[in-house]
Point group: D2
Chain length 388, copies 4
């Protein structure tokens, strides 16, 4: 195989394409993390990061992957043996459940078919049944990266409130943060879990916890052992622009640049763009005569689309052909969706023509793999993009 020219199409649902502007920001020299220039950076970030989460409260930033931020959400709020309520919306919801169990929590796991989000009625029902208030927390993945289904947090919040249940609401926004409308404060979320490598347009390496007053108040009672993830010393040090450990300075440079970019475009515009790109992608998929995995149009994801192939096709073969022939990476089917779906990421730093190039690549790849597709799918997508 010859060396490939041109820019790789990284259209997995994260890591996303890091803008060269962010890469250049990250290439600045590392500085003294105890000096005045660092403090200025950290104090600036402390405020600037809040709007992306839709919060006025504190956001803790970890040098970690997103799974680290999952762990932080649990160990800061819960104690060994605590019961938590979780929902099988897909692969990542299942992994978070596994983590909770490994950390010594008891998980009530509501089964699901991986094509729908969390059912607010199920939340209501479970909590209503929990009259003893034994459930300490509800764990929800906002946007399932393995399925392209977005759960409706406001309705889940309403279900909790209607049940007058005191459980904390912990929400994973790994693949929605900075891409899909999200409001930590307005929606009454207690801990929001995020990461750097998706809508925030950064390389992997930072994890986030946005924290409500209720979660902050609960933390001192949480008895899961913790040190690295402990919010308290971080929040204390952050007051003065520092960290109790050596922070990931260069990723923080990149974070500042990425947040500036989101501000410049405007978060509402960012969300609208993602929504438009998602609509164009679904128009293509449906126009091709294929099935979008997500079955509820109120739960369509703005950041990725999982495409379900018939049982006679191997989705990974399609992906392999597309990678070999067109130098594009798509997301694989995870867990029980392996071989059945491929996932198109349309989040982060993306524009219409790159999305159009992406969809042409998918169409050609499907054809080369022997999947019958109606080329009208592409035109349908272009119609969406062309509309004002």
């Amino acid at each position: 195989m010859t060396a490939q020219s041109g820019r790789h199409f990284l259209q997995i649902p994260g890591p996303t394409n890091v803008p060269d502007r962010v890469l250049r920001a990250m290439a600045q020299p590392t500085i003294d993390h105890r000096g005045p220039d660092f403090a200025e950076l950290a104090l600036d970030l402390r405020q600037r990061v809040k709007p992306v989460f839709g919060t006025g409260g504190p956001v803790v930033i970890y040098p970690s992957s997103g799974t680290g931020a999952w762990e932080a959400a649990l160990v800061n709020t819960l104690s060994p043996g605590d019961r938590v309520l979780a929902f099988e919306t897909g692969h990542f919801a299942s992994l978070w459940r596994d983590m909770a169990q490994r950390l010594g929590l008891t998980v009530d796991f509501v089964p699901g078919d991986w094509r729908r989000g969390v059912d607010p009625a199920a939340v209501a029902e479970r909590l209503a049944a929990d009259t003893a208030h034994g459930i300490a927390a509800v764990m929800v993945v906002h946007n399932e990266t393995s399925t392209g289904v977005t759960s409706r947090i406001p309705e889940i919040r309403a279900a909790i409130d209607d049940a007058e249940h005191p459980a904390l609401l912990l929400v994973d926004t790994i693949s929605s943060l900075g891409s899909i409308d999200y409001r930590h404060d307005d929606w009454g979320v207690d801990v929001t879990v995020g990461c750097s490598q998706k809508g925030l347009m950064l390389p992997p390496g930072l994890g986030f916890n946005a924290i409500s007053d209720k979660a902050l108040a609960a933390a001192p009672q949480a008895r899961l052992p913790k040190s690295y993830w402990d919010w308290a010393p971080i929040l204390d040090a952050n007051e003065h622009g520092f960290y109790p450990y050596t922070p990931a300075t260069n990723l923080l440079y990149g974070l500042r640049e990425a947040l500036l970019m989101l501000e410049e475009e405007g978060l509402r515009n960012v969300f609208a763009r993602h929504s438009r790109h998602a609509a164009a992608t679904r128009a293509a998929v449906q126009g091709w005569g294929l099935e979008v995995l997500c079955v509820n149009e109120r739960e369509y994801s703005g950041s990725l689309t999982a495409v379900l192939l018939g049982a006679e096709h191997d989705a990974d073969k399609v992906r392999r052909i597309i990678l070999d022939r067109f130098d594009m990476s798509l997301g694989t089917g995870l867990g029980k969706l392996a071989g059945r779906v491929f996932r198109i990421g349309h989040l982060g730093d993306l524009n219409d023509l790159t999305l159009a190039g992406t969809l042409t690549g998918v169409q050609m790849g499907l054809e080369l793999a022997g999947v019958a597709v109606d080329p009208a799918g592409l035109q349908a997508a272009l119609s969406v993009l062309k509309a004002e």
Copy 2:
């Protein structure tokens, strides 16, 4: 207008998209241009640059634009009042003619309609008529950047040889070098003029002259005044890895990286890729029901395609809509083609999906500008790309 996300589509016929690998190479610290590390770089480049020109002879590298390399070709080989034969193949051929005149040369300028390359028969005729051998040089633009027409150098060479005429053959490869098959030695070219910002995938700032033995031998007799462009001191200094002036070190870093990339892909593969992308682009244009400016299919350009619109349309309006709505730059109509054509660059560091994205953007832009196009054009292009 809101800030734009995603990567700008730079699809003018140069400057082309500089690979990030080349940008990083250029970001290396500048070094002492009289020290051993620089000499190693320069001696390496001296050899490594030859294959792109198809020559075993010397190639002079100037810190200059391509127009500087035009001037160098003239002042090193010609004397005040010398007659040269040139051909009106387009805007840049006309500009080169103007330069020759400003420098004090007499130009026999064969008129043309900007839709064809140099006619070898016209070369034969003119030279046959010049029995006194008053014509000192024949100036040809290999690939007219303003029209997307590629002149057939081997046939022109044959015409000169058949006429047994001693004129030097000077060829501009500004937008063909590194993109379209070119053979300085095999085709008996005396001076090949090139630049950095097209097929070589670099930013603008370097000009090139590849020089035949015959041109080298002619240079001492050339009496046009010169100092900066003088080959002699440069060739002398280059022997030892140095320059008689301070060279553009960081662009040379980039040049090394770009040449490595061309080697890795293989020049034959590079040319085949450009040819394939050109074919896909023409398939789209013709499929849309529009006209390719170049009228001779043996002269289709591998690096750019000029699209001719009907008189009722304004090509610059199409370009403006495409820039505003889809963040893509296309080439404008130059000189007498202003407003009538737009040009699609498909050269340099490009791949199938970026070209596909480009063509979708052109199609949508045409539609938005009210130019009737048949969407089958895009499918025709994809068929070319999809074929093995």
Copy 3:
């Protein structure tokens, strides 16, 4: 204050100056962490990282700070209530002790005066007394970043062996890794804790655990709750070039480049260079008539030197003057050394003239702060640097 020209002198004991070559490597586009290119990178790093630790065994790489790697060493090998033996060699040894306690371990903490390393005789004595083998692990900081004292791991190992005690040996090499001779396998260390931002010349953001067979065998019995830090799934996934979470791709790019640089210089040469720079620094300090904090010349640190001022001086005032006037960052006195010492980092990507510039800055800053110094100190340092 006017903007400052020139390059900041970052002479804290880490983060160190990241070579521009590493910064450029980190600026490469992020790729699919489940694709073949990533697997190639990860499999290469898996082997290439071993020699820096002096091990043939596995090294786990975390997206984390060094404190994360501390936690990983503990939670993978120990169970709630386990006794560990630790030594008060300075600020970081004390922080590691605190972490162990927070995680639910019982720490036997041998007090110290922060001017000496771990006394092998004390190790021998404590272990000999522990006939019931209640001590599960010995925690040692190889090079105390707060004091510039290097503990003698081989002698500590010998003490454990002489006592025929089964305790695991856990060693923090945060500020020695890649700077001071270290041999995980030869010295019988069970878990070596490292990080990216010191001798490895990277920005902060990666933590490391090198793991002995004995530690690997102990891990399944360790009952401290863990998920993120759990070695097992990482080691499994690493076999195939992957990670059970999204790894910090761009820092891994930098890691490969940094490891290549260490290979090119040669680890023995790297250690010798650090040793020479440390000797030059001490020559300056002692020549100035000041005191090196470390009192045992067998424990002088190769990577940093803490300078002890008389009680009449404020070390932070000296640092502030040096930062304001000479744009150089030095390390502050930590914990009980606050105000009493400042620390000169001479590790990572450093050469003679940068060290010389550093020492001139320290000398001038001391003079400006009113600390009487003999300028012969600088000449003494230059004599060391000048010697073959």
Copy 4:
């Protein structure tokens, strides 16, 4: 020899150390040089570059080396056979003379000993003798890069004015621009020649001509053949933010960043810094017991210092030792100074500690080369740096 750690000390008198901030600016993607974003850049630069030259008039920017800007100054103002007055102040003044002769000008070359600047009395005398006003231009090198001698432009201007002579004043500021006080307008200079790679802190690749009204008025009468260097089409195109050729976009990105840095520091502060560093360097040289080549203290250069060794020493051997042992590049002796002097560049993006490191390297290198030096030289330099 082993690979070297740390950052190379590039202390030649240009190219200078390019700030990483400028390198990052240059790494931005190349854009359409005919589009609105480029126009904005060009129009901004058009104004922003003026203060560095001390002019309110136009400044032409060429993709070229500084020698190109030399040629531009001549061909835009002079005609074949014109007489020009020039002065043998050093190697570069001699090269400019050679260029003028090659271009067909007649040069009155006033001999010199390479240790002094242009003598204003000699200017007065020559021009007074030229009652026929046959001298068309006076060519002066402001700061001779080969000798470290700065000619006094205001006194030369006064001499021309006193002689009531109409000759144009052409001044080379290659190694003074952005480093040493210079005032194109106030000093009545007609063409100022500059380049990118010295005080402007850029890589090589840009040449500059600042142009007085008188020079602009003279240009149409100048009959030296020209095309590339012709001011007229460039000035026309610049009005709208464009160039008549493809400009060196990425170097222009760097230029903007460098100009911002000079603005942030303030030009007066920049000049004062260079002056202080020059004083410190001379203090070292004289303290070592060596001779500064420049014999007139009113002509000491603020940007470089040439050190004259006794005939028994080989300056290039000293340089070689310093390069091999301390990874520092110094300037060689050029032309008739070969082997007799080495040159220390202290211009561009430099701070006190890098200069101090430089001087320690020179001192150690001299000692290793067997040149007797008094180490008090270094302390003398530090006294200058330490003083407020």
